[in-house]
Symmetry: C2
């Protein structure tokens, strides 16, 4: 498989396929045509065929897609069959919410450490995991096999912490801080940004636009 050639747009759609196929499976649907899947997901059938052809197709002429097989294959492509270890840096409300979520990637994500800069929370626990000082990060990363770091801390701390993480071997950052980190990090570091504020701004834009058009 030559993953390098798959566009970011295709990748961004894979989890959605995975989700819809899971829903179909739960409702007892065993097979589905690209036309039916198209109606359900509100994307064109040709888009679906093109997207899935990137990975070899999976469909059979005149039969459509086997729902379970297709979902499992997409799950493999998304890395859900592999275990990944993750640390969370920043244990405010959002960091705690993520630390308490059990089923990321169908349970294949293991949270192995929590870190914070605030003296008053260091040494306390979330679930069974003790919150450590970010100063311990370099040693912790040397002694433990960590693949993913989650940043749930203020923007300015995020940049500095990201630098430390990358210097100590982290290659994937799930970033919730209000910055893209793109100026600070080497290009081979994988950064997925979740900007909740951006999403809410799009919502209020659309509210605003509807009001203006209604005048």
């Amino acid at each position: 498989m030559r993953n390098r050639e798959i566009s970011k747009a295709v990748i961004s759609r894979l989890p959605r396929y995975y989700r819809y196929l899971g829903d179909l499976l739960n409702s007892g649907t065993e097979r589905i045509s690209s036309g039916e899947l198209s109606q359900l997901m509100k994307v064109t059938a040709s888009q679906i065929r093109q997207d899935l052809n990137n990975f070899g197709g999976f469909g059979q002429q005149g039969y459509g897609y086997n729902v379970r097989y297709l979902r499992d294959e997409i799950g493999k492509i998304l890395g859900l069959e592999q275990n990944h270890s993750m640390i969370i840096i920043g244990t405010g409300h959002l960091g705690k919410a993520l630390a308490n979520y059990e089923n990321f990637n169908r349970g294949s994500i293991r949270i192995v450490g929590l870190f914070d800069v605030r003296e008053e929370v260091i040494g306390t626990k979330v679930r069974q995991t003790e919150i450590r000082s970010v100063n311990e990060l370099p040693v912790f990363l040397k002694e433990n096999d960590v693949e993913i770091a989650v940043l749930t801390l203020p923007k300015n701390n995020a940049k500095e912490v990201a630098r430390i993480l990358v210097e100590n071997g982290i290659r994937a950052i799930w970033n919730f801080a209000y910055t893209d980190l793109n100026l600070e990090l080497p290009e081979d570091v994988i950064v997925e940004n979740v900007h909740l504020s951006d999403s809410l701004m799009q919502l209020t834009y659309r509210l605003h636009a509807v009001e203006n058009n209604g005048q």
Copy 2:
């Protein structure tokens, strides 16, 4: 302003412009060319010009953009100068994290109600706001002016609650449940989905892809 014609792709980029312009302002930058902004944001200068031309341009030949003016104008377009009232339905860890965040849309979002289905949390408070039963939603929405509802509850509850919200006049939903809600709601209801799981799956896909290419 003819908002109706602006594409979803352009809208999705506006909060990012707003963020970068805010950073520039904080670092004391008063004006910037589309070329400089392009380098910073890693999008083409022509994309920037095209995006901003949707709203009248804002730039001056030979001068570039006035950072503060441009940021303020984009803020207006995004609805940040208007107050919006919001309720949160589902007060688990994520719902609480959102309820505790003070500065959404630069403080223009007011959280006016919290709701849950779980008997054991109804009547308790998050900050000063009491958690009510979802059964009270219809009456609450009749008596209060609510524009935005946040859904931070399991997928199956989300569909049913979304139906109740829309029946009672809600026209904008910020959805964190693991479903798009697109089958259930009228087309004029604005839904912004935040699927944290999808984002994490893209991250593990990319980790996986790098490992495969490295073999």
